[in-house]
Amino acid sequence: SQTIHQWPATLVQPVGSPLSLECTVEGTSNPNLYWYRQAAGRGLQLLFYSVGIGQISSEVPQNLSASRPQDRQFILSSKKLLLSDSGFYLCAWSPGVAYEQYFGPGTRLTVT
C-alpha cells in the first residue's frame, strides 16, 4: 500500500532563517506531487506541483521554492523565511490525472 511521509511535524523558525520541508511517498512510482499551504481557519493554497523528476510548476510567486530530486521525494525550501510564511504545509500525491489526492500528515510552521 502507498504511504506518504512529511517531516518535521512541527517547526519554529526565526524570520530570515532558511527552510527545508521534506515529503516522501512509498509504494508507488512516478506520482504527481503537490505542496499546499493552509493558513489558520482557511482553505488550501496550492504552492507547487510536479509531474516528474525535476519538473516543478509554481502557482504562487513567493520566496518559496520546490525541488524533486528523486521520483518520490518532494522538498519545499526557502532561503529566508518571512512572518507570512507561517502556516500548515501539506504535501499530497496523486497516481495520475484522473485520480484523487492523498495527503500527508502536514507540517506546522511558525515563523517568529
Binding site: 503537490y34 482553505g43 488550501l44 506541483y49 510548476s57 484522473a98 484523487e100 489526492q101 495527503f103 500528515p105
Partner: protein
C-alpha cells in the same frame, strides 16, 4: 477561471441527524472529477467521496452521499446518521482533466451530542 465555492462557513447538526453541505463550481470542461475531503482537528486530510462528471449516478460511501447536478454545477455532500467523529472541516475539490486541483474554502461542521 476554475473556482469552487462553499457558501456555508459553519454548520452544526444534532447527533444521528442528517446534514447537507453545499458546493458549487465553475468550469467550461465537460469531463472532470469532484471530491469531498474531511479535515478533523488532527488536520489530516481524508478523502470522503469522489464523483466522475461523466457518471450520472450519485456516489455513495456508507453514510456519505452526494447530490451531483452537472447542469447546475452543484455538488453537495449529505451525511446521514451524523456521528461525533464527523466533526471536522469539509472541503469540496474539483479536478479538471489535467493536473491542477481546486479547493473550496471549507465548511466547519460540528456534530452536537
Amino acid at each position: 477561471a476554475q473556482t469552487v465555492t462553499q457558501s456555508q462557513p459553519e454548520m452544526s447538526v444534532q447527533e444521528a441527524e442528517t446534514v447537507t453541505l453545499s458546493c458549487t463550481y465553475d468550469t467550461s470542461e465537460s469531463n472532470y472529477y469532484l471530491f469531498w475531503y474531511k479535515q478533523p482537528p488532527s488536520r489530516q486530510m481524508i478523502l470522503v467521496i469522489r464523483q466522475e462528471a461523466y457518471k450520472q449516478q450519485n456516489a455513495t460511501e456508507n453514510r456519505f452521499s452526494v447530490n451531483f447536478q452537472k447542469a447546475a454545477k452543484s455538488f453537495s455532500l449529505k451525511i446521514s446518521d451524523s456521528q461525533l467523529g464527523d466533526t471536522a472541516m469539509y472541503f469540496c475539490a474539483y479536478r479538471p482533466p489535467f493536473n491542477q486541483f481546486y479547493f473550496g474554502t471549507g465548511t466547519s461542521l460540528t456534530v452536537i451530542p
